[in-house]
């Protein structure tokens, strides 16, 4: 299967490890990612707030640059994904917008047929096109004993009718379980990381980040797996600020899910892009590097007493 790949600006620098590991994983799963030629910034969240038409045009230029023989486009960053998907959808839904954007594109010798492309997030493609079964078969270094908190952030699954439940998504949970990890049932998995709030009102952002870290620590997570460069940056780079601000002492490494996949597929730490994270992942990953036997659950595990009432099953009928 071949896909147009739109890396987005973050993957060029701050999230280079995401880019590197994503390519390694795609290679292993037989997915061919063809980078969109001469792509540009998606405008992030800000440009749409400033001036809508240029913002849509900016995004549409990326859609227009995908060659005709490809009909699926992948964005690994949740913000890029939402912008591309939104532009694609709104252009098909509102002919007026499509007209204006098309005019602007035509000035640069480009054109896009609204709705032609199917815009998808990297996680969607990996779990639904490659599939959990194939992924599980490729695992050579199971993440046994590593407690991972799956963190989806707010943009990936919202608004509803995306590829997973908007309130309590499960696709990343299942993926990590397929890798052999001990997946923490992380209640804040779809809450906000603060986004660009660190630049506007840092205290608000610190509180949002603290909640996520605190909750992961409560569940004794060794590492938080994320799907978006913004989330990774906030949780990783601002962890020290949060500690200073609240007098806490969190040391939770934040990795991209593709990095954990690459490690499980047996690549070297270097190939998986490790080492660029600010809170070092090595102490936590020692657990799987040395292939320790499966550790017991850190939470006090009580045998249900005879009086205890049964729990209902987890899966909906």
């Amino acid at each position: 299967m071949r896909y147009a790949f739109y890396p987005g600006c973050s993957l060029e620098r701050s999230a280079a490890s995401y880019h590197k590991s994503a390519m390694a994983v795609a290679d292993r799963l037989g997915l061919i990612f063809q980078e969109v030629d001469d792509w540009n910034c998606c405008g992030a969240t800000e440009y749409f707030a400033v001036n809508k038409l240029p913002a849509y045009t900016l995004v549409a230029r990326n859609l227009a640059r995908v060659p005709d023989d490809l009909n699926q486009m992948i964005a690994p960053c949740s913000a890029c994904y939402v912008n591309l998907k939104k532009t694609n959808k709104y252009m098909s839904k509102y002919p007026d917008l499509a007209d204006q954007v098309s005019q602007a594109l035509a000035a640069g010798g480009l054109g896009y047929d609204p709705g032609r492309l199917h815009v998808r997030h990297l996680l969607d493609v990996i779990v639904n096109d490659a599939g959990y079964k194939t992924i599980a078969q490729d695992v050579v270094r199971p993440l046994s004993g590593l407690r991972v908190a799956p963190y989806y952030g707010c943009l990936l699954v919202r608004p509803k009718n995306g590829f997973d439940n908007p309130e309590y998504p499960m696709s990343l949970d299942r993926l990590l379980r397929a890798l052999g990890a001990e997946v923490v049932d992380y209640p804040l998995k779809a809450q906000c990381c603060g986004g660009h709030m660190t630049q506007i009102s840092d205290k608000v952002a610190y509180e949002l980040i603290r909640r996520l870290l605190h909750n992961a620590a409560e569940y004794h997570a060794d590492v938080i797996a994320c799907v978006c460069p913004m989330c990774q940056l906030n949780l990783d780079a601002y962890q020290a600020n949060v500690n200073r601000h609240f007098g806490t002492d969190y040391r939770i490494p934040i990795l991209y899910f593709t990095q954990l996949m690459a490690l499980a597929f047996g690549t070297s730490a270097r190939e998986a892009g490790l080492g660029s994270e600010i809170v070092s992942a090595y102490p936590a990953l020692a657990k799987i590097d040395v292939e320790m036997p499966k550790e017991e659950d850190k939470r006090p595990h009580k045998r249900p007493s005879k009086q205890a009432l049964p729990m209902p099953g987890k899966e909906a009928r």
Binding site: K160, N165, E167, Y168, D185, P187, L188, R211, H214, N215, E218, P304, S305, Q307, A308, L309, P310, M311, P312, G313, K314, E315, A316, R317
Partner: protein, 680 residues
């Protein structure tokens, strides 16, 4: 042919007259062929309107009648009756629908008037070709089938049995009683549910007119009102009912314990050989073959060894039973919405989130905790409880409708908590309090005085992720309090969800088996929303209780009794008139190709092997016309829908196109906006 037709245009108050120039239509229709008299009148369905028709028939010797008014579904019978009373065969009447098909859906008066003329012309041209028809009479079998042994079905069965007629009561589970048997107290009187229900259950088993078929399901229904043939599967109980004394030793000795998802709502356990609850009717246990050790591994038989009367029979097979009945009452009840479909409420993930049915079992003195209110550990009493209304109901993502009973039982839960744990705080998160009913609003006020906290706002999420001091180890209920206009986080020990009640998962299949229809939400559809709430469009099939839509116990009982009264009415008539609108086969000319045999959805056509022709059973034919259209030799005729009649009807419309000049441009068809559904 010289016919004398009377044409009557109804104003229907302003319903028709506002958009259609009725006087103009009446004047115009007077010039149509054979029309003897043409009038308009304010309410044709009134007794004065009907008398108008009757008088004209006798004084002007009318031979045909056309009434242009509402849908034939509403008043065709009314006017057929008027014709009949005046000595005219009721099938020499035709109705033109100028309300639902015309005045209600058009905004422009000229177009609406034009269309009314076309419809009247069609009816006049058609009625000339009508033939007098005589209804067929069929005897009504006195027996009745009641499907579902919940409180609605029990009431219906008892009422019919007491009147002296036989009843077959079919129940899917091992015992009758339905959901009501699971409850502890009933709102608003707080009387004990079992205490009021079990005497009725005992009456059912003791009544000589009732044949109770528990642990059975209806597989197939054939026939028509008065004469249904029903095939019932009696699932193997693996216990011989004639030998079993109901002593319960088998259950005691059974080594296999499983979670009881049905009666205990998943909160308690039962054995592989079990009786759902102590007062079960009938008293005989069943072996759950899916979980029985003997059926899994071929070893054990503990129950058989200990049974003092040798009633356990592992070889027993399902039995197929065929019964003949005249009428059917469906009271198949409801399912609870699966709260796991709303993952942010944590049911199935957070231990101390319970559903309403689980809580009903918990507070029940005969339930798994003997009536103690405890957390999932089975020991700790909660010091604060949140009750969440409208889980899956009044929600565009799941069910848009209101489940009607949840506000009241949530209040009941709050009361029961106050009674048993006086120190505990109880929060009710509601969208709107809906307490219509006798004594219901008073019950709400009682709870306000008992100190329940009422917070108006739909709950956003229930989480164990603590954010503030005081939240650790608790479940935090987050909601926007719309009365004070701010977000609230309420830490509690226990959460009770009040999920929507929804149609049975197999309601659509049941409806198909019995030949009735379901609404979008899979509730069974009644014949008329207001005036015929327990009948269906299929004669002889009635509905009662929650299968028709969410309702509480008094309403379910009322419907059960109402359905029984309708059945008794039919049974005491002794025979039923069947519509003569049906097909007939000219057997002399039938080529025996059998195309019509499979075409008939009612199984009314049989192939006669000796004569090599197809023969129609007129009692089963519903007059759908499938066979008429399919017959390659053209030897099947549909009474009241002959080719002549249909072509004349079309001609009537086309003729009117020429006569009315100029034909006005029709406005674009508007989405039908009923003046208000209560006008129906």
């Amino acid at each position: 042919m010289s016919e004398r037709i009377g044409v009557y245009i109804c104003h229907c108050g302003s319903n028709i007259a506002d958009k259609v120039d009725v006087e103009e239509v009446a004047k115009w229709a007077a010039d149509l062929p054979y029309v003897e008299v043409s009038r308009d009148y304010e309410f044709m369905c009134s007794s004065l309107g009907q008398e108008l028709v009757e008088d004209d028939i006798s004084e002007r010797s009318l031979t045909r009648v056309v009434v242009a008014a509402c849908s034939p579904h509403m008043h065709e019978r009314t006017f057929r009756g008027a014709c009949s009373r005046a000595g005219l065969n009721p099938y020499l009447f035709e109705m033109a629908n100028i309300r639902e098909h015309d005045s209600w859906i058009h905004e422009d008066q000229d177009s609406a008037t034009y269309k009314a003329k076309a419809l009247v012309s069609a009816a006049v041209h058609r009625v000339v070709h009508h033939e007098p028809l005589e209804p067929m009479k069929a005897k009504i079998n006195h027996a009745t089938l009641v499907v579902g042994g919940g409180v609605a079905g029990i009431q219906a069965a008892l009422d019919i049995a007491v009147a002296g007629y036989p009843v077959y009561l079919v129940e899917r589970e091992p015992s009758i009683g339905g959901h009501m048997a699971q409850f502890d107290k009933t709102f608003p009187t707080l009387d004990c549910s079992a205490c009021v229900l079990t005497p009725k259950m005992v009456d059912v088993i003791n009544h000589p007119n009732i044949t109770l078929l528990s642990y059975s399901e209806v597989e197939d229904v054939e026939g028509y009102v008065g004469n249904f043939t029903v095939t019932i599967r009696r699932k193997a109980r693996h216990v011989k009912e004639d030998l079993c004394t109901g002593c319960g030793i088998c259950t005691e000795k059974c080594p296999k314990r499983i979670v009881d998802d049905v009666f205990e709502a998943g909160l308690g356990y039962r054995k592989a050989i079990y009786r759902p609850f102590p007062q079960a009717v009938p008293k005989y246990p069943v072996i759950d073959a899916e979980n029985c050790i003997y059926f899994e591994r071929g070893k054990c038989k503990a129950c058989q060894m200990f049974c003092p009367t040798e009633a356990v029979d592992f070889e027993q097979q399902d039995e197929i039973l065929t019964v003949e009945v005249g009428n059917i009452i469906l009271a198949t009840g409801y399912d609870l919405f699966d709260a796991r479909k709303i993952p942010q409420y944590g049911y199935g993930r957070l231990a101390n989130v319970f559903t309403s049915l689980e809580f009903e079992r918990m507070v029940n003195a005969a339930g798994p905790t003997r009536g103690r209110i405890v957390l999932r550990d089975g020991v700790t009493a909660p010091s604060s409880i949140a009750i969440i209304h409208c889980v899956g109901s009044r929600d565009q993502n799941y069910h848009a409708y209101c489940s009607r009973i949840c506000c009241m039982y949530s209040l009941k839960f709050a009361h029961l908590v106050h009674e048993r744990l006086p120190e505990a705080d109880v929060y009710n998160f509601y969208i709107d309090m809906r307490t219509p009913g006798k004594g219901y609003e008073e019950f709400y006020h009682r709870l306000l005085e008992e100190g329940t906290y009422f917070i108006r706002g739909r709950v956003a999420e229930i989480t164990d992720a603590a954010r503030r001091p005081g939240e650790e180890g608790k479940l935090i209920v987050q909601a926007e309090d719309t009365l004070i206009g701010s977000q609230r986080r309420v830490p509690v020990d226990m959460v009770i969800l009040s999920p929507a009640i929804q149609a049975r998962h197999d309601a659509a299949e049941i409806a198909h088996t019995f030949g009735i229809s379901c609404s979008y939400d899979n509730w069974f559809i009644e014949r008329h929303a207001k005036l015929d709430p327990v009948a269906t469009m299929t004669d002889g099939v009635f509905i009662a209780g929650c299968a028709q839509g969410p309702k509480d116990i008094p309403d379910s009982v009322a419907q059960g009794a109402a359905a029984a009264a309708r059945v008794l009415g039919l049974v005491s008539q002794g025979e039923v008139e069947l519509e003569p609108v049906r097909a007939s086969i000219d057997e002399e000319r039938c080529s025996g190709c059998r195309i019509c045999n499979d075409m008939c959805p009612y199984g009314a056509i049989d192939f006669i092997e000796e004569l090599k022709v197809s023969r129609l059973n007129p009692a089963r034919c519903k007059g759908c016309g499938n066979c008429v259209a399919a017959c390659p030799s053209g030897v099947i005729t549909g009474a009241h829908f002959s080719n002549e009649q249909l072509l004349a009807e079309i001609e009537g419309i086309l003729v009117s196109l020429n006569e009315v000049e100029p034909a006005p441009q029709f406005e674009r068809l508007q989405v039908w906006r009923s003046p208000s559904s209560s006008a129906l």
